[in-house]
Symmetry: C2
Subunit: 228 residues, 2 copies
């Protein structure tokens, strides 16, 4: 028996929100086994069906509780508002050992969302690292993109800066960035996540000052190896 | 008697380094009265002559001590390595009241310059604000550009994100960004300077990982008003 695919299983926690749904859609389209997690499994099942419809039945996506999907996955992607960040991580912590966690969280503090205000750990990703401990690799990515473009199959004119707890973890995450049709860059150690998370507030400020809705960034002056 | 120009006088502290020299050259070329400051006035005079030569005598640039030029200027630009940041600000503090300070400092901590490591104040610019007090407007800008391009009249493929203590101060600084031939964006309050200063470490990391030498960023998805 030959296994049909060697691609990994990705659980998207909070996958019923627009961020998670957009990423789940792109990864399912690229052939990954995608699991949608939610606090309520019925909601996750509904969103899983919606994504399957978009893909015209070309892949099977499973919906279940955040904890169930986290348990079954190789890679766990966290897409929740910052207000639910600590709670969701603590609720799945014990099934994450040895897995890669990709944290998309931006620690915005309403109402001043255009002002950088980081938690005491330094950033949301560093907070995740504190909560999850040394046996879980944490990567921060996808904080700056506009998620609407993902579901609409539109080109996303914003690069993805990937910071994380090890180079290997960042490289794994960069493969998922490319699989989602985005351009990613290794932006260094997890301490650098403050820049990428904070950049979201800078982009919100630019949208406010210049009347735009989807300000983003592109890296200039560097080239990615064509093999990637 | 009509004053020949309404352009402001800019003092570039640490103006004998490559960053300061490049910016001084661009502003002198744009018609501003530029003063070069250094710890040693002879050194400042030499660099002022060098820039005048580059401009083929089309403008007169003065060199003197940091304190002398800070006293005479409307706008004071700080271009020193982080190790000299606090000292230079304290040495000119009492002549800065009511002036605009533009801080270009990146708080790199050798040898790990590709890792973001901010001072307790949150960023170099916030540290400047703490040192100088409420009566001095502080703007942070120009942290991410490659200065070699400035002196060579080359296009700089890196936008300038401007954060600062008030919108008026950011707007004044944005005029100087444009005058230097660069594209600038209002990136919000001074608390956001951590993003822009830290971005330098991210870009250093990208240079290291991808074999580039001048990685930069461009803002996408937003347009500047053509009047600017």
């Amino acid at each position: 028996m030959v296994k049909e695919t060697l691609l990994l299983t990705i659980a998207v926690l909070g996958g019923t929100g627009k961020e998670g749904k957009g990423l789940a859609y792109r990864w399912a389209k690229a052939g990954y086994q995608v699991l949608i997690g939610s606090r309520y499994s019925e909601k996750a099942v509904t969103v899983a069906s919606e994504i399957m419809e978009l893909l015209e039945g070309e892949s099977s996506i499973v919906g279940a509780t955040n904890r169930e999907v986290a348990q079954q996955a190789d890679i766990v992607v966290v897409t929740v508002p910052y207000s639910g960040h600590r709670e969701i991580l603590e609720s799945v912590k014990e099934v994450l050992t040895g897995k890669l966690v990709i944290d998309t969280t931006v620690p915005l503090v309403p109402p001043k969302v255009s002002r950088v205000q980081m938690p005491p750990a330094g950033s949301a990703a560093q907070e995740a690292r504190e909560i999850l401990g040394e046996n879980v690799e944490v990567v921060a990515a996808f904080q700056n993109i506009s998620y609407e473009h993902l579901l609409n199959d539109e080109e996303v004119e914003c690069d993805v800066l990937v910071t994380g707890s090890s180079k290997k973890a960042r490289q794994e995450a960069l493969m998922l960035v490319e699989a989602a049709g985005l351009v990613g860059w290794d932006a260094g150690p997890i301490e650098n996540s403050v820049v990428v998370e904070g950049l979201t507030s800078v982009l919100i400020n630019i949208n406010k000052q210049y009347g735009s809705t989807h300000a983003g960034i592109k890296i200039t002056g560097a080239q990615k190896p064509s093999a990637e």
